[in-house]
Amino acid sequence: MAARTLSIKKRGFTFEVFMWAFTRFTVIAMYGLILAGILGALSLSAQTGANFGDILYWAFFPNLAENPLGQVWMTVLAKLMVIAFVLSACGHGVHGVLEILDDYFTSHLARRWSRNFIITYAVVASLIAMYVIWTK
């Protein structure tokens, strides 16, 4: 199979190109955050003596676990990273789910409402996640 090399200029800047780039960049952000999160949790674990698993568990479920990190900057950094990860995952997932729904919903009306629903869901879920993670 021949390699496909089409420059960005030739692709144009349509909605599809934008969403393709958005999906790629959000997934790269997620891989980066996973790597940074694991390295960061290992580092904080070594500095504070807290269990690595406990740090990750608290970071994702701050409403269910005690904060194992002593210092404020560590707490703020961990919360910001988890919020960034959840937002990246949500943005990435919205486009993925829309793509699947578009394959199965064939009428304009169904597609429009599935878009309205999934985008509203993503916004509401992101707001809930940000609020709980930041305030608990």
């Binding site: 390699a3 578009d102 709980v132």
Partner: protein, 120 residues
Amino acid sequence: MGLKRNVSLSTALGYKGQGPYLTFILHRIGGSALFILFTVYILSLLGVDSMHALLSNWLFQVVFLVFGLFHAINGLRITILDLSPKLIEHFRTAINIEWVVYVLVAGFALFVILRNAMGG
């Protein structure tokens, strides 16, 4: 994209697309599974106890690790091939490498979950 599909579900299920098609379908199943996981996670953040219990269930974890890890590893392959178009010539090799990585990572994850589930 056209609004009419000329392929029935039974025909689609019988399509012999081999490796690349299998990764395509598993990627979609994995993405859908992760969407459900995300919903359960948000409900758990809201304090719904049953959702947190579900997240702690080993069977739930096994299902989501099997599909979620495939989605993550296959997504990495897609991203690498997308950003380096010259590598597309070797996409079947990339899929084979992906399967090896997936079996190793998922095998280890399953081992840990099942060991914990059995109280090890």
